[in-house]
Amino acid sequence: MKRRTLFGGVIAVAMVGLTSGVVAQQPPIKIGMSMPQTGGLAGGGKASLLGIEIWRDDVNAKGGLLGRKVELVVYDDKSSASETPAIYSKLLDVDKVDLLFAPYATVPTAPLMPMVKQRGLLLMGNFSFQVNSKVQHDMWFNNAPWGPPDSWPDSFLDIAQKAGAKSVAFLSADQEFAQNLVVIAREVAKKRNMPIVFDQAYPPNTVEFSSIVRALKAAKPDVVYVSSYPPDSAGILRAVNEVGIGDNVKVFGGGMVGLQFGAVMENMGSLLNGVVNYNSWLPEPKMYYEGTKEFFDKYTKRAVEAKVDPLGYYLAPFGYASGQLVEAAVKAVGSLDQKAMAKYLHEHEMQTIVGPMTFGPDGERKENAVLQAQFRGITDKNIEQFRSSGKQVILFPEKLKSGDLVTPFEAARN
């Protein structure tokens, strides 16, 4: 017995020695971030994190970066701005991470901007909106497709104007992202000489929208621009289904958050038909780039285990793309020199699974790549239907267009 124990011990020590010999040659490259895993942004945060994890596994399978494995250090920021400064301080000062990714969304990211600017660090942004406009940090790169701030509502109102719409109605949630959008949308409408006949912000916890939709209907707008959050997006569509919106309305939608998430889409089913809404990625033929299909094959499998959005179109591929940006920059620079990496990212067009990206001086995408797509022929309670093309027809941008607008909205609903 004793001899066997000794023998086992020797083997164990030898094994540890062997494996550590291989791994310990180079310490891993640590990428630190916080991610909303609880609270209001958790759904998006988890999907986004899965995208980044798939990138990590892919890059490690290829031998890592600079011959070193990539390791993620992730903490939960509870969807709150007040948690992130301490977490990023821990990442930098205690965990000594090599690179930083920002958490998903604007609010948790905002307090980080002055911090990374003061310390001169590269920060890869994750779907925040205009968070760098005041701080003007030149080492910030946002993976979101937003582009210049006014381009997003502009493309929607452009589609509407081409369909003959004149007057516009705004319906917006009284919350950070929705208000940012609608403020810009108002300016765009003014520039396009579209009179605003209805403009209402509702409190974030509103659940019953039929009275608001009735008032909106009475104003007889030609186009309705909605900027809302997931629960209210669903409430608004239900109210529209009950009350109707009137025959005047040619285009409806625009900035409804939630209609990109599998669970919400499945839930809403046929109520989605006709809505023209923004999106970041859709399974239309022109949206596939190198590695896109392979990514979604992996994502679909792992999403079940991770209990995140089964479709994952909105955020996950962009998390992967952030990884690709870093990967390309590190390879080109040949080190982890963040200044040089930032310079490289500013100067080159980057190829990712969500298409080519170029960055302006403010670290936002140079070109607006936000899709405007119309829901078509959606049936109830079937999430798999969204995997096939033609269910969300891309109307904008022109080069990715996969169909024409069906108008008016009431006709498109059926």
């Binding site: 895993q37 609880t38 992730v74 903490y75 939960d76 509870k78 709150s80 701005a81 007040s82 948690e83 400064p85 301490a86 977490i87 301080s89 821990k90 930098l92 000062d93 205690v94 604007t106 609010v107 905002a110 307090p111 901007m113 002055p114 911090m115 968070v131 005041k134 701080v135 009284d174 919350q175 950070e176 929705a178 208000q179 940012n180 403020v183 409190p203």
Partner: protein, 319 residues
């Protein structure tokens, strides 16, 4: 009693000296970020306990006071570029006014009705700030820190020390109240307000005083948070989490003695900070709830109550 006082002030001085020494010796930023949050919770819990513990008026509006503190600072910074000390002083004044209004509420409302009214007040104030574009409105506002003043070489270290000062101030006030006629009066209100009134305790005046002091301290604790985050948005500043955490801290620590909320805030605050960077998932939200339930069941008078009971048992055993 007097010797106690000397010990207290020696302890407070040592605490401040240690905090100052920390800022001069430790180069690593993280301890300051983490400890700042814990200190902030100590001030909030001690302030909450003045009304909620001594007088038994359960205030769910901590986040309203905290958020007002944050936004007072934001407003002063944006409008007048006011220095940090002015921000904190102004926040304390605003908090005192808010506390006065809250105190008037107690005229008509007690128990659960008072608690509900404080939640309502939070929502009303948050909605007003959400619609005030000048301080950023619902989109939030990013702030630029001014240069740090000597002897600190980093802004967060300075904020940490200022919050430590606020802790000493809050604890000293709370301790004074507990040991004075005010505390005894509040205790009487907690036990039976009607009886207290009949025996000549000036109940309204005492309640107003407790509300004003508690409100001023909570708002003052919120003011540096604007500079700590360099960002303010209504949903983070008025987060109901502040109300719930502070309530849990005071109850877990024990509300009968000034040290209770301090112990509770250190314990829970440190646990939360630790969990954020270790388990970091849904579990850390669960921990707060489980701890609260455990303490309410096993130690309804909190840690302080538990210690007292142990000490009493021991002294009884000796006899």
């Amino acid at each position: 009693m007097k010797r106690n006082g000397i010990f207290f002030w020696i302890g407070a001085t040592l605490f401040l000296a240690a905090a100052l020494l920390m800022t001069q010796v430790i180069g690593n930023q993280y301890p300051f970020f983490a400890c700042y949050v814990i200190l902030q919770f100590i001030v909030l819990a001690v302030a909450w306990s003045i009304l909620g513990g001594y007088a038994g008026y359960v205030n769910f509006g901590t986040s309203a006071f905290f958020g007002m503190g944050v936004y007072t600072a934001v407003f002063l910074l944006k409008a007048f570029d006011a220095p940090l000390a002015a921000q904190i002083a102004a926040a304390a004044a605003v908090g005192a006014l808010m506390g006065f209004a809250l105190g008037l509420l107690t005229l008509r409302m007690q128990g659960i009705f008072f608690s509900i009214a404080t939640i309502a007040a939070t929502i009303v104030i948050e909605t007003s700030i959400t619609n005030w574009r000048y301080v950023g409105g619902s989109a939030g506002i990013q702030l630029q820190r001014p240069m740090v003043t000597e002897p600190f070489n980093n802004y967060v270290q300075m904020l940490f020390f200022i919050q430590a000062l606020l802790v000493v101030l809050a604890v000293a006030i709370s301790r004074y109240i507990q040991n004075s006629w005010i505390g005894r009066g509040l205790q009487a209100i907690k036990d039976d307000e009607l009886a207290a009134e009949c025996t000549g305790v000036p109940t309204l005046r005492l309640k107003l005083l407790a509300c004003v002091i508690s409100g001023a301290l909570m708002c003052a604790a919120g003011a540096p948070a604007a500079m700590y985050l360099q960002y303010a948005d209504p949903s983070s500043a008025f987060n109901l989490n502040y109300s719930v955490s502070v309530l849990a801290m005071s109850l877990i620590g024990g509300t009968a003695h000034w040290a209770g909320p301090v112990v509770g805030a250190i314990l829970l605050g440190a646990t939360q900070q630790l969990l954020t960077v270790t388990i970091s998932s849904e579990v850390n939200v669960l921990v707060l709830g489980v701890m609260l339930v455990l303490f309410v069941v096993a130690a309804p008078e909190g840690i302080i109550g538990l210690i007292r009971r142990v000490l009493r048992n021991r002294s009884e055993g000796k006899e």
